[in-house]
Symmetry: C2
Subunit: 385 residues, 2 copies
Amino acid sequence: MSDTSLSFPDDTHWMRRALALAAGVLSSTRPNPRVGCVIVRDGQVLGEGATQPPGGPHAEISALRDAAARGHDVAGATAYVTLEPCSHHGRTPPCADALVAARLARVVVAMGDPNPLVNGRGLRILREAGIAVSAGLCQDEALALNVGFIARMSRGTPWAWLKLAASLDGRAALHNGVSQWITGPEARADGHQWRARSCVVLTGIGTVRADDPLLDTRLAPTAHPPRKAVIDSGFSISETARLFDGTPVLIFAARADAGKAQRLAARNAQVVLLPQADGQRVDLPAVMQWLAADGVNEVHVEAGPILSGALLAADCVDELLCYSAPMLLGDAAPMAALPRLDSLEGVRRYAYTDVQRVGEDLRLRAHLPSRWQALRDRVALNLSS
Amino acid sequence: MSDTSLSFPDDTHWMRRALALAAGVLSSTRPNPRVGCVIVRDGQVLGEGATQPPGGPHAEISALRDAAARGHDVAGATAYVTLEPCSHHGRTPPCADALVAARLARVVVAMGDPNPLVNGRGLRILREAGIAVSAGLCQDEALALNVGFIARMSRGTPWAWLKLAASLDGRAALHNGVSQWITGPEARADGHQWRARSCVVLTGIGTVRADDPLLDTRLAPTAHPPRKAVIDSGFSISETARLFDGTPVLIFAARADAGKAQRLAARNAQVVLLPQADGQRVDLPAVMQWLAADGVNEVHVEAGPILSGALLAADCVDELLCYSAPMLLGDAAPMAALPRLDSLEGVRRYAYTDVQRVGEDLRLRAHLPSRWQALRDRVALNLSS
């Protein structure tokens, strides 16, 4: 059976393997996308690989090197790649050129790369070299894996999810602040997995003051932890807050204090001065734009009801990541403080995308369908170009 | 292959078929349990049936008659029954005797019947006649199908579920009462399916006053609709309320009004006078006891936050049936009005049992594990007797 006659189910099988490779490097490639690549001939894997940390080889180069190390010539083989191969000289040479040089017969790509430096050029290089190109296989899975990178490239802001943990009746804490433990240890560990895959874990000064959280990924250890960030408009954060643990911290403030900023810099914290939007808090969309400009793909928000509500109101949240504990708490604190509505018209309607049992709790994910669709259009449009 | 050598997976297959037959008569057997029976020999179905409406044949008799109608002699065959065959003369003669008379070789039973008139006697009759009896197969599925009957028989109260519909942050209505439509049409239709399987749909006078609901099963039509019931301590219900549609209605009141009761009787409504528990509302556990004594197995509660909260506080709710819409409503009405807690100690912890997508919404079911376990113990204990 020649490569080009591979049936669709086989193509799907190999693309899923490439997606799994990409899923294995969730927290080590930022700011680059996580990509997987599998090179196959006659139903045999010749080589495979995933994106290495920045400066290291991309997935295609990893796979080509893996094939070479196994003593395989990949000429005439098919490569499955979860993202359009790059066409530009960045920290590494273009992957599209490497695939051409390796004389592959066919390249199957899950989705296009809206990076203005790529944006269809990767596929064009392959096609012009006479390589058969199939595109769009497992596109939604591929998008889910790099939704933040695609958001940053195509709209200039990261993909932000809001992590919530509450009772079935939506209460995040009792009236007196007691919230330990509404959800269970499995939900907390799962939450740390989501922290670990993000580029930035964002909270508010209220949470720092109330809980003095570490905001780390101790329940999902990784060699590449995300940065921490605090919205602290008044720049009132305690210099002894536990989150200053030597890893990079961003503080978004609307008030300057050069001495304090200098002392915190010694603790690896960077103060970012931004304008106030409403005379009281830094402009939240500006925070998101700043983060994207700084290479942030995914933001994990884990904040109290006030900042959570403000981010929702400012349209800075793309997705809800909600842990629901099987209990009713009644008169207690809300998940997010939102203004009173008089009608259901205009209320944001999310779409449930995934429900998992996590210990005794449920994890409900829901995103804004229009946001998702906009990214889908961007990665699909490229493929027809 | 003889019947007695049937492998366990085959046994499970036939018991599942019997369970499916029982699930097909969810709303027509009350106050009797829904039972299914399949009679099999050499991998061939000889006859099958489910419980007919009260006064009609039970599942075993239906299956025996079906086999006879098909011209099959069932001697030496195996019967799969979802509930221990009855041993008493009720409106129909004992099924255990009929199975013995039919000279079956083996009977597989999913769970015991804690009805004091049965309670192991059915199995004893079979064993004493030399029939091989296997018990406990698919016990949890069988219990789920008749959880209300088992509750009524073993603890003297129905199994009550509280139907809730709310946003992801647990809001059942806006501050101004707007609640149409938070959840979608599929969730409403699914809710009517649950009404239809119950014996009584229970609401409060507040809901009748605010919404004047029909409280019927129009979205899940059935020839055997449940009764309607209203907690109306002050007996203030309007005589023109839409729920008085000629089908039976129960009104639980703490205040007598003979003239009004007589007029409502003409509309098929029965007033049940009960004591007040707290000087303001009829004693809710007394309502549940009255209902069980009247043959009610399952109660579908669909009420406003005040009665919902009162039923929860009075420990009258076994299960939550919650439709969750993918939106956040913020400052709005709660699902259930519950007292303020100062600590999480002592809070009721439910267990999620089932999550389904229903249209755009999710249906989350959760029950009190101790209540379920108590019923499990009752149906399992019988089998070893």
